[in-house]
């Protein structure tokens, strides 16, 4: 296994060498980086020109320069590793160091959300094959595939930011809109639930009433400006989550697991009040991580201890229920900061941002910066996710349908397992295996998409660096972005291959 990984890493480095060499030379011959300076009428233009040629070794032919650049990066020349200088003469390493976290945050969040949302929708679509829901989802997926990301981004800026911010001045939803939203929501929900025509109509009516009531409440109380969940609603939602997760994992019929998860959910209000004083100004990211891990551990141990024969299944269920319930409490805490954020002097009462990745002037605690990150991430992530989600929907749907045709599924049904066990334990898990390869491809696609998204939303990430670098033929800047994206794409590919072979014993890596 280790030998296999080493060999793969070796091949990976060779490929990387080849691709960077190719791009380096292509970029180098594509234009003259000194054009501005040559045309410049400033008195010290000649000096600057000479300095730039010196700094960037522009008198050296590109293939040779590539190897100098490589030696610089590897730090072989005896000096500290360097990615060279930009046209303006600053260190590329410093600039890209600032840009990487910004882009990675955008891409990682978009990837995770696309995977979760895309696969869930794809699975439901496959289970309701050839239904209204399936056809609508198929159409929407194709539509998303066909949308140019920059076009959607501009539309999102206009309607989800500018118009929505206007709406927030007086957040009263008109009755027509309420009916529209409530009906669309109810239609989707009824499509997911499925069943015959009668059941469909009943579900639609019930969901419509519930949606309409929720929207009226939101509109009447100005919830969008002062959002909060409160301990009561959190408890109700946690109990709902407990039911839902138990239904998916072991089935409601397994009373023991059901009671464990309901018990965990019932503890939510207690934790709500315990955690409130802890969520103060001193709270930070590492504490959040600790809290998340602690919650998962508590949930798993609770399930494992009281789980009886279904120990591991109960542990898993408890873990998910605890994590989601704690997530609700955290969400509520973020919401409590919304009011302060909304009234901040830098926001001007327009919270959803159209440009930039954050407002550095906002001085605040973990919660304030969290809300700030959310308002800036919302639209770029949405734009980036569209295509990716459509991909996951199509692939997970096809993958599950493929698995459902397998003989072992027929065997599982024939031996009398419940439909839930067949789907969740036998079909769903196996359908995820081929998706691992898609994930690696998708990640590299998202990195490309980030180049456009960052341009539209004026983020200071790697995409913007690439754009400005390429437009000015700033070779070192362009190459730093190419290098980082290629490495991350390759590493993701390698991980996907390893995961694939670990999940599917039929594939041997040591061949």
């Amino acid at each position: 296994m280790i030998q296999y990984i080493l060999r793969r890493v070796g091949a990976l480095l060779l490929v990387l060498l080849g691709s960077t060499f190719l791009i380096y030379n292509l970029t180098a011959i594509s234009g003259d980086p000194l054009e501005d300076l040559r045309l410049s009428t400033e008195p010290n233009a000649a000096f600057l020109l000479e300095k730039a040629i010196q700094d960037l070794q522009l008198d050296v032919p590109p293939p040779v320069r590539y190897f100098n650049w490589l030696i610089g990066i590897l730090g072989l020349g005896g000096a500290a590793p360097t990615m060279g200088l930009t046209l303006e003469g600053s260190e590329v390493l410093d600039i890209i160091g600032l840009a990487i976290p910004i882009s990675i945050r955008l891409v990682i969040i978009a990837t995770i959300l696309s995977i979760v949302i895309g696969i869930s929708i794809g699975i439901i679509s496959a289970l309701r094959q050839y239904s209204r829901f399936d056809y609508s989802i198929t159409f929407i997926a194709f539509l998303f595939f066909s949308l140019p990301i920059f076009w959607v981004a501009v539309l999102l800026k206009q309607f989800a930011a500018i118009e929505f911010n206007n709406f927030l001045y007086d957040p009263v939803i008109s009755t027509n809109w309420m009916i529209g939203f409530a009906f669309i929501g109810a239609f989707i929900f009824a499509g997911i639930v499925g069943g015959g025509r009668k059941r469909f109509l009943i579900t639609i009516a019930a969901a419509f009433a519930l949606n309409f009531a929720t929207l009226s409440y939101i509109s009447a109380t100005g919830w969008l400006i002062t959002p909060s969940l409160g301990p009561l609603l959190i408890t109700v939602m946690a109990l709902g989550i407990a039911f839902g997760i138990t239904h998916l994992s072991t089935g409601i019929a397994n009373r023991r697991v059901l009671f464990i998860s309901l018990g965990l959910a019932a503890l939510t209000p207690v934790f709500y009040f315990v955690l409130q004083p802890m969520f103060n100004e001193a709270f930070d990211g590492s504490m959040m991580l600790l809290l998340a891990l602690g919650t998962i551990a508590v949930g798993y141990i609770a399930g494992y201890l009281f789980g009886g024969d279904d120990r591991s299944a109960a542990g898993r269920t408890g873990m998910i229920v605890a994590f989601l319930s704690a997530g609700l409490i955290t969400l509520d805490r973020f919401m409590q900061s919304w009011d302060e954020y909304y009234n901040n002097e830098w926001i001007f009462g327009r919270p959803i941002a159209t440009v930039g990745d954050s407002i550095p002037e906002i001085e605040g605690d973990y919660w304030m910066t969290g809300v700030d990150a959310f308002t800036h991430l919302l639209l770029p992530t949405a734009a980036l996710m569209l295509i990716s989600v459509a991909g996951y929907v199509r692939y997970s749907r096809a993958s599950l349908l493929e698995v459902l045709n397998q003989d072992y599924i027929r065997t599982a049904r024939a031996k009398g397992l419940t439909e839930r066990t067949v789907i969740m334990r036998h079909a769903f898990r196996n359908s995820l295996i081929p998706l691992t390869t898609i994930m690696a491809f998708d990640f590299s696609g998202l990195l490309g998409g980030a180049i456009i998204t960052e341009q539209v939303f004026a983020w200071r990430g790697m995409g913007t660096l690439f754009n400005t670098g390429l437009a000015k033929f700033d070779l070192n800047l362009v190459m730093s972005v190419v290098l980082i994206t290629s490495i991350s794409a390759l590493v993701f590919n390698l991980i996907a291959d390893l995961v694939y072979s670990a999940l599917d014993p039929r594939i041997r890596v040591t061949k």
């Binding site: 091949a11 060779l14 490929v15 990387l16 080849g18 691709s19 190719l22 791009i23 292509l26 970029t27 011959i29 594509s30 234009g31 050839y130 159409f139 194709f142 539509l143 595939f145 066909s146 949308l147 140019p148 990301i149 920059f150 076009w151 501009v154 206009q158 500018i162 045709n405 590299s444 696609g445 990195l447 490309g448 998409g449 180049i451 456009i452 341009q455 539209v456 690439f466 754009n467 390429l470 437009a471 362009v478 972005v481 190419v482 994206t485 290629s486 794409a489 390759l490």
Partner: protein, 348 residues
């Protein structure tokens, strides 16, 4: 007879009834024609292609000695007609007067005029021509290279397979948009044909992997051995025996590649690394007009709608082709089929 039918089960008899006595190509064609979304998309796409190429005419040659063949539309995309209305609003109106319109009319500038007064209809049509041209050239180049490279790689194996596949790895490593941008900034000013040609030269990699996979399995099959024993040359085995079996994979992934190509070209032009002025493209039009969205919304909507429609049509055609080529694809048995079968049963 009756017994026979029952024993086979109703589903089989539908399948057999529809494929009896037909060649593979005919079966695929029939299945494709029955795919409603794909057929509608095909018609829409053909209509759009005919529409934009007849209306806008053709611009051939280079900037030094251009050859123009005018279309039926009165303005050219380089014309500067006088500004109509207050700020060049679209004159297209499909609402009759009694609803809230000015009566159904096309007018001087159906899509309005842009900020310097150019007729937007002719600009959009020119952009659509460019995008369609790029799409087809990339599709043809990538289909040819991908098939040939994949076939050589999969059929001959050994060092040549290693060589080609390592090169494919090398290209696949770099995000498409990055390699496209680097190519676009060099080639963009040579015109759309060369841009598409060079983009095609780097777009074939994914297809070649698929074709190679097909060849790896197919070359081990008995009919290939039989052909070889009968004295067929390598070329004949590749083109006559293996490739026809892999053609489904090629066609489907080429259509998907084409819908990707149109999005790639528009994205590059949007970033300024694709088609450059004085020529125009749908991406460049959106890029030029996005900031004026609140003032001149039509300048933003029209090019976007063209991109989405073309890409959507291609995607649906691809989906229809995939269903048509998939031998496991079973036809959904409609109510009409059932009643027909019942009637048949009664007769016999």
């Amino acid at each position: 007879m009756n017994l026979d039918n029952e024993a086979k089960g109703s589903e089989d008899s539908f399948e057999q009834k529809e494929t009896a006595g037909l060649s593979q190509g005919q079966i695929v064609l029939r299945r494709f024609v029955r795919h409603r979304a794909a057929m509608i998309s095909l018609f829409v796409l053909v209509f759009i292609i005919l529409f934009v190429f007849t209306a806008g005419g053709l611009a051939l040659g280079n900037t030094a000695n251009p050859i123009r063949i005018m279309g039926w539309w009165q303005w050219d995309f380089t014309d500067l007609p006088p500004l109509q209305g207050v700020m060049g609003e679209p004159t297209l109106d499909v609402l009759p007067e009694f609803i809230d319109g000015t009566g159904m009319q096309i007018g001087q500038h159906p899509f309005g005029q842009d900020s310097i007064g150019q007729d937007y209809f002719s600009l959009v049509i020119r952009g659509a021509q460019q995008s369609i041209t790029v799409m087809f050239i990339i599709g043809v180049v990538a289909a040819f290279l991908g098939t040939v490279m994949g076939a050589i790689s999969g059929f001959f194996g050994k060092w040549i397979d290693q060589l080609i596949m390592r090169f494919v790895d090398l290209i696949i490593t770099i995000p498409t948009l990055i390699i496209g941008a680097v190519i676009g900034i060099q080639i963009g000013n040579l015109g759309v044909f060369f841009l598409a040609l060079f983009l095609g030269l780097v777009s074939w990699t994914g297809l070649s992997r698929l074709v190679r996979g097909e060849f790896l399995t197919l070359r081990e099959r008995e009919f290939v051995d039989a052909a070889r024993v009968a004295g067929a040359s390598n070329l004949r085995i590749i083109f006559k025996h293996i490739l026809p079996n892999a053609i489904g994979v090629v066609i489907v992934s080429v259509t998907l590649l084409m819908s990707g190509a149109i999005l790639l070209e528009t994205a590059l032009s949007y970033l300024g690394f694709g088609v450059v002025a004085p020529d125009t493209s749908l991406g460049a039009l959106i890029s030029a007009n996005q900031d004026a969205f609140t003032v001149y919304p039509w300048l933003f909507w029209w090019p976007g709608l063209f991109i989405v429609t073309i890409a959507l049509c291609i995607n649906f055609i691809g989906d229809g082709l995939r269903d048509a080529f998939d031998p496991r694809q079973k036809r959904r048995i409609s109510r009409k089929d059932r009643s027909e079968a019942r009637a048949l049963k009664k007769q016999s």
